[in-house]
């Protein structure tokens, strides 16, 4: 058995990503300092730089601006980006959700049009799936796309649209057949965010970023922007969500938090001014536990990438990746606050803040990690029914 890349190659790749981020982030990211997960908010300038440096969509074929790299390589890149606290919301949505779906369901024309725009860092996608009455319950979707000549007229209200404040495009789910119920009659589109009738409102979040709602009012979407088959959007959308479950960016982000915690506890005086928290057995024990969980999360991520590379297809076990790293991050965020103590409450902007307020930011953002994109309960339900074959 030979795993590609080797650990040395992986380290080299990771090093290059980290180096890129170290140079680029200070120049391109402003105002996101209080964000606990860098997938909460976004920077168009960073995304552009990331594309220009060739880090976006490397697993796609070269004709689309990719490098035909393995999923494993993308996993390593994602992990490093997460570790560097790069803003990743549109990156993940553009590559993992939209781009990978496009590779599965798009026409050659669509691929040739959008994928190079993404890899170049020019097209930033947000995802227009959720609605006020349709969160995890996709069948209750109300946004309507009515065919009218060579276009669809779209009306509706989307919520939790991360990155809509900077996105150039939306990967939109809308109801194209109002006569059939629930999951049938839904189609997927590419919507240009600059079209008339698109309004974005931003709401600050607990995590320190923003979430948006998007109102679509008589937006005219060209018929060629239909992605895949009309009225088959539900199944395609489910596949899209399946592809985003390795979550190596979050594994990297968790590793950063843990590394910083280790760094902090090794400081003289970290134990209430008396000694080092690193010499407190319970601190060692908790960090040993978290480090092991991190290894699990990482192993899940690599397992998913390897299976994709081996062409084994998506399985219920992919859900482990997202679920586990969410739970890990929550445990880590909470334990960090306990270990560091009262100083952990000071935020970015306080003289007393540790690592620019990383710990409170991660803590604030931690609840979102098991609710965005399918709650833990739903993930477990998928595992139980699809993975273990339990009755629905």
């Amino acid at each position: 058995m030979r795993i590609i890349p080797t650990e040395d190659e992986a380290a080299e790749l990771r090093g290059r990503v980290l180096e890129f981020c170290e140079k680029t982030i200070p120049l391109t990211v402003r105002g996101l300092e209080r964000q606990g997960t860098m997938s909460d908010g976004d920077s168009a300038a960073f995304f552009k730089a990331l594309g220009q440096a060739g880090w976006i969509g490397r697993h796609w074929p070269e004709q689309y601006g990719g490098r035909s790299a393995s999923h494993l390589e993308t996993a390593i890149i994602d992990e490093a980006l997460g570790y560097a606290r790069a803003p990743l919301s549109a990156y993940l949505l553009s590559v993992k959700v939209f781009g990978n779906s496009l590779m599965l369901f798009g026409t050659d024309e669509q691929k040739s049009k959008y994928l190079p725009m993404i890899t170049a860092g020019d097209a930033m996608f947000c995802q227009g799936f959720s609605e006020p009455t349709a969160g995890s319950d996709f069948g209750s979707l109300r946004t309507a796309a009515v065919r009218s000549g060579d276009k669809y007229v779209v009306n509706g209200h989307k919520i939790w649209t991360s990155s809509a404040e900077v996105a150039t495009h939306m990967y939109l789910a809308a109801r194209t057949d109002p006569k059939v119920v629930k999951h049938r009659g839904i189609s997927l589109f590419v919507l240009d965010m600059n079209m008339p009738g698109v309004t974005v409102n931003s709401f600050p979040t607990l995590g320190g970023g923003v979430l948006n709602e998007v109102f679509l009012s008589d937006v005219h979407v060209p018929a060629e922007n239909l992605l895949g088959e009309e009225n088959r959007g539900f199944h395609q959308a489910m596949r899209s969500l399946d592809l985003e479950r390795s979550c190596m960016d979050r594994v990297g982000a968790a590793r950063l938090s843990l590394d910083r915690l280790v760094e902090y506890v090794k400081r003289e005086g970290s134990d209430c001014g008396r000694g080092r928290l690193a010499d407190v057995s319970m601190v060692q024990d908790k960090i040993g536990e978290l480090r092991t969980k991190l290894q699990v999360a990482r192993s899940f991520g690599y397992m998913i990438a390897r299976n994709l590379d081996a062409g084994k297809g998506v399985s219920a076990e992919f859900s482990f990746g997202k679920l586990y790293v969410g739970l890990l991050t929550q445990a880590l965020a909470d334990a960090t606050v306990d270990i560091v103590g009262p100083l952990a409450q000071f935020e970015y902007g306080s003289d007393l803040a540790i690592f620019d307020g990383l710990f409170p930011a991660v803590f604030r953002a931690s609840p979102a990690l098991t609710l965005a994109g399918g709650s833990s309960e739903i993930q477990r339900g998928i595992i139980a029914t699809r993975g273990l074959g339990l009755p629905k």
């Binding site: 607990l206 009262p342 306080s350 003289d351 007393l352 609840p367």
Partner: protein, 375 residues
Amino acid sequence: MNQGVGALEASESVVDQADFEMIQEVAQAFVAKELTTKVVRRAERGDWNAANGLWKAVADLGWISLLTPDAFGAQGLPVVAMIAEELATAAFPMPFAETAAFVIPLLAEFNDGSLYELIEAVTTGQKLIAIAMPANGLPASAEDCAITPLADNESGKPWVAEHLERADAVLIPVQADVGVALALVQKPTAGWGGAANPDIANNGYRTLDWVSVADGETIIIGNGDCRWADLEAALNVLRTVLAAQVVGLSRGALDLAVAYAKEREAFGVAIGSFQAVQQRLAEAYMENFAARLLVGNAAISPTPVYVAMASIQAGESSRKCTFTAQQIWAGMGYTLETDVQLYFRRARARQLLLGSPWHHRETVWHEAAQQKWAV
């Protein structure tokens, strides 16, 4: 179902159960009628008018003076803890625990006759006294107290005080020739100075600026009388009431979660009918109920071990309730528009003041290692 006073091993308290329940009804009615989360929302944005107004109302109800000898004295702690919990269910941002369960009992205990006027001013809500502490937590020994307000400028350890901006004076635990003492520093004419320290709960911490503090009129309280043990006992009383606030904040979050679970629908039914949601809410409710019982024990007998147990369980309750509430509220609760996130942030900040869980468990261990029944 609030059990209120529910200790098991400590078997007596001078507060009558009927009195307790009557005050509890008043507190619950006060919260229901007067105290909405608008108060804390405004305060977090820097507008403390509504909070100050309600502080006066709390004072008028006599709740700040419950631990003076005129009221219940130390025996009133179950009542104070109960009120603190009720106020916390609406995330009341004023320093009730600090004032009613630390400042006032200490001033009363070490009142050499000169403090009546000050106590009166504080218990009637005319004056607010902030408490200062090392930035990394409440003092754990006499060595953690300031050397003197002035000299600590040189130790380099940062000190902070919550609510300092709005305080008329600050109480600083200091080392004394014999034992410890309390330096009460009036607000200097030029203001408190010191940098603002944005914190997770927007509680308005400021770093103590020892140079400014030196400009404030200062009296030393308890010098010669006050031993570290006295201050430690006072801190345990404070921790008991802080733990009660954590229980109240947790309950506030849980109440919001239950309400939302009844109202919010998915797949055509209320999400509260899903078994997985029910299991989590039931577990959070149980942990919260348990925390109230252990805080009740500590309130009757605020010994280190009971306070440690209450702190541990208050933390457990906070973790379960506030986190579960965020999960139930999902995306909606993640925006700063909704109240649930207030509880998530504020319960954590309060909990941090209780001290690290492993110190508490070590305290409990020592009790467990010594105590044994028989057989």
